[in-house]
Symmetry: C2
C-alpha cells in the first residue's frame, strides 16, 4: 500500500472512527484502526466488538491519491495524534512488510509498527435492500430527547438501552428507567411496507451514534439484522450490537385523561428547577415539592443540613384542580431541558400518578415523570 492523502481529510476520517477503538482490550489489535486502500478509495475501520465504525475517503486529486492498494492496522493511540501533528498538508503512507508503515510529511519521517490486517475482526455482512430512510438531524434530535430517560443501572439490563420501534412509516423512540419515560415518534422518509421491528440499542452505543451523526439533513438509512443495527450514510457506516430481552410494553402507562393542565414557559421553569436542585440534590430522590395554584406554581426543596429554597414561577395557562405533589427534581429538569419550544404543557393526574410533559405545539413527543412519596 502506498497512498498520498490530505492531512485534514485523514484526520477527520480518523476522528470519525476512533471512538470505536477499544482502548483497553486484551486483544491489542482492537486498539488499532484498519486502513484499506482500494484502487479508488481509502477505507478506515475501528471496532470494540460492541460497535464498529467504517468511513470512506474517495480518491480525488484534492484529498487522496492511491499509488498502490493494500491494507494495514495501525495503533490508534499513536497514529491519530501523529496525523494531527504532521507539519505539511500532505501525508505519504507506505506499508512495509511485515506490518509497519512509513509516514512522511515535509521533513518529518515516522516508522510506525502495526498489525496484520487479516487478523482484524470482519464487519457483519448486512444486506440493506429495504432500509428505513431518515434525515440525520431528525435522528439525532430524537435520540437526544429520549436517551436521557434510559436506566443507568443494570437492574433490568434491557432498560439501559434505547428502544426503537420501526413501522412502515415511522420510528418510535422510547427510553425509560421505570421512574420516568420519554417517547418520540419520527416519521420516515421511507421504509419497507408492512414493517414491524423492535431494536434496543445499548446506551453507550446510542451516545456514540448521536455523536457521529451530522447536524444536517444528510440522508441516513437504518437496517436491522442478526441482532445488529446498521446506520449508513454515503461515507460512514455505524454498526452496533443490540440488547437482548423483552422491552416492556409502555403504551398502557401513559394516561389519557388529566385532572389539571398547565402551560408554562420552558426557560423560567428550567432555571427555577436548577435552583431548587442546588438544595434537593443533597437528598435521596432529589425531592422537589410542587404546589399548583391558579396563576403560578411554587417549587420548594429542603435539606436538614444545607437549608431550603422556594420559588414561584408564573403560568401561561391553568385549568383543573389545585394540587400539591413532589418529584425527583433531576428527572423533571432532564425532561424540561429536552424540549426545544418556548412553552410546555404539563398534565397532572393526581399526587401519586404520572405527570405528562409535551410541547404545547404538539409534536409527537412526550416525557412522563412519576411523583415520589414524601413524608
Amino acid at each position: 500500500m502506498r497512498i498520498h492523502v490530505h492531512q485534514q481529510s485523514l484526520a477527520a476520517a480518523l476522528q470519525q472512527v476512533q471512538r470505536a477503538v477499544s482502548a483497553h482490550s486484551t486483544m491489542p489489535i482492537l486498539g488499532g484502526i484498519k486502513l484499506t486502500a482500494d484502487t479508488d478509495s481509502l477505507r478506515l475501520i475501528a471496532t470494540n466488538q460492541e460497535i464498529a465504525v467504517e468511513t470512506y475517503l474517495a480518491a480525488d486529486s484534492d484529498t487522496l491519491s492511491i499509488e498502490m492498494p493494500g491494507s494495514i492496522v495501525l495503533p490508534a493511540r499513536y497514529f491519530v495524534e501523529l496525523v494531527r501533528k504532521l507539519p505539511d498538508p500532505w501525508v505519504h503512507l507506505t506499508v512495509q512488510q511485515p506490518y509497519s508503515v512509513q509516514i512522511t510529511s515535509a521533513q518529518a519521517a515516522f516508522l510506525l509498527h502495526g498489525f496484520d490486517p487479516e487478523e482484524f475482526p470482519r464487519l457483519p455482512q448486512i444486506a440493506s435492500d429495504q432500509p428505513f430512510l431518515i434525515h440525520s438531524d431528525n435522528l439525532k434530535d430524537a435520540i437526544r430527547q429520549t436517551v436521557v430517560a434510559i436506566a443507568a443501572e443494570e437492574t433490568r439490563p434491557v432498560l439501559t438501552g434505547l428502544c426503537m420501534k420501526f413501522d412502515a412509516d415511522s420510528i418510535t423512540f422510547i427510553g425509560t428507567d421505570s421512574h420516568r419515560l420519554a417517547s418520540r415518534k419520527l416519521f420516515l422518509q421511507g421504509g419497507p411496507e408492512g414493517a414491524s421491528e423492535i431494536a434496543v440499542v445499548p446506551g453507550k452505543s446510542i451516545h456514540e451514534l448521536a455523536r457521529l451523526l451530522p447536524e444536517d439533513d444528510t440522508p441516513v438509512t437504518m437496517t436491522i439484522a442478526d441482532n445488529t443495527l446498521l446506520v449508513s450514510s454515503d461515507t460512514t457506516r455505524f454498526f452496533t450490537r443490540l440488547l437482548e430481552g423483552q422491552y416492556p410494553d409502555t403504551s398502557k402507562i401513559i394516561p389519557t385523561t388529566f385532572k389539571t393542565r398547565i402551560h408554562i414557559r420552558r426557560d423560567p421553569f428550567a432555571s427555577a428547577l436548577e435552583r431548587a436542585l442546588l438544595i434537593a440534590r443533597e437528598m435521596q430522590n432529589q425531592v422537589v415539592r410542587l404546589q399548583l395554584q391558579s396563576d403560578r406554581i411554587e417549587l420548594s426543596a429542603h435539606s436538614h443540613d444545607v437549608g431550603r429554597v422556594s420559588e414561584q414561577v408564573p403560568l401561561d395557562q391553568f385549568s383543573g384542580d389545585a394540587l400539591t405533589l413532589a418529584f425527583n427534581g433531576k428527572y423533571m429538569l432532564d425532561a424540561v431541558r429536552s424540549f426545544d419550544g418556548e412553552q410546555l404543557t404539563v398534565d397532572f393526574t393526581g399526587t401519586m400518578s404520572p405527570m405528562i410533559l409535551r410541547p404545547t405545539d404538539g409534536q409527537e413527543y412526550l416525557h412522563l415523570v412519576l411523583p415520589v412519596r414524601t413524608v
Copy 2:
C-alpha cells in the same frame, strides 16, 4: 448583616477566593467562605491553611449597599453555585442567627446554613511598610516561565517550590528539579534599600497565585514575614506559607563558555519536538537524540514497540563544532514553549554538559537542560 449586592460582582469576588477553599478538610468550616460586611465594604476570605485569599468589594450604588454590618461563614460548595444561578441582577443577603443566611433574588428565596464567623481562622498580620513593587503581568510571566522546571516529586521537598530571591531592585525566580533549571530576573518598580531575602513558594500555591494575577499592569506589592509571602493588589490579598529548608545555590552550575551556539526559530523547533515525543514519550527519560550540523539539526527518537521518527529542522545561525547528544524531550519542549520570542539561542558545552536556552534578544531569562546518557 443585611446587604444588597450586584450578582455579577459577588460572583466575580467568589471566583477569586473559592480556589483557596479547602474541599476535603476535616474541619468543615474551612469549606466555607467568610463574608464580613463593614459600613463601607464587603470582605470575602477563604483559606485551606496553606494559602488564603481575601478580596474586597467597596460599597457603591451600582454594586453594593450595606444596610447592616455583620459577618458569616457560608459553605462554598452551595453558595458559589447558588449565586451564579440567581435570576436577578440584585442579590439580597440577610444573616439570621445563629449562623444562617436568607438569600433572595427576584422570586427565588434560599435559606442557607453557615458557620460561626468567630471560628474561622485569622489571617496572618503582616506589616507591609516596605514592600517590593511590581506589575501583575510581569509577575505572572516570570512565574509561568520558571514554574515549569520545579520538581514534581518530593525527594527534595525544597525543589517542589519556586525560589524567589528578592534584592533591592530585582527579583530572581528559579525553578529546578535537578535535571533542568529555569531562571528569570525581573526588575522591580520599587523595593526596600539593601534588601536581600529568599522565599521558596510551594508549587501548588504558586499556580494559584498565577491564576489570580490579572493579565495587566495592575500594581502588586510583595511582602515576606513569618514564613509567609503576601501578594497584595488594591482589591485582593493572597497569602501563602513558604517552604522551609535551604534552597541550593544554582549560580555555579550555569556554564559561562560554550562549544557550539545555534539560533533556531521557536515554533518549528517546538513542533518537531512534539512529533519526536509521540515516540519518545514511551521510553524512560523520553529520550530524543539531537544531531547538530552546520545548517540544521536532526531530531530522532526510537521505541522498540512503537517505531521511530526523525526530522530535520533548519537553523538560522550556527557556530562551533558539530555535536550529537540526547535529552529528555519533554524537558526540552517545556523550555522551548516557555519562551515568547520568535527565535532562541541554544549553547552547547558538550555531550554530557548542560545546554542553555535563551531568547536571542537577550532578556534576563534562561533555561538549562542536562543531556541524558544513552547506550
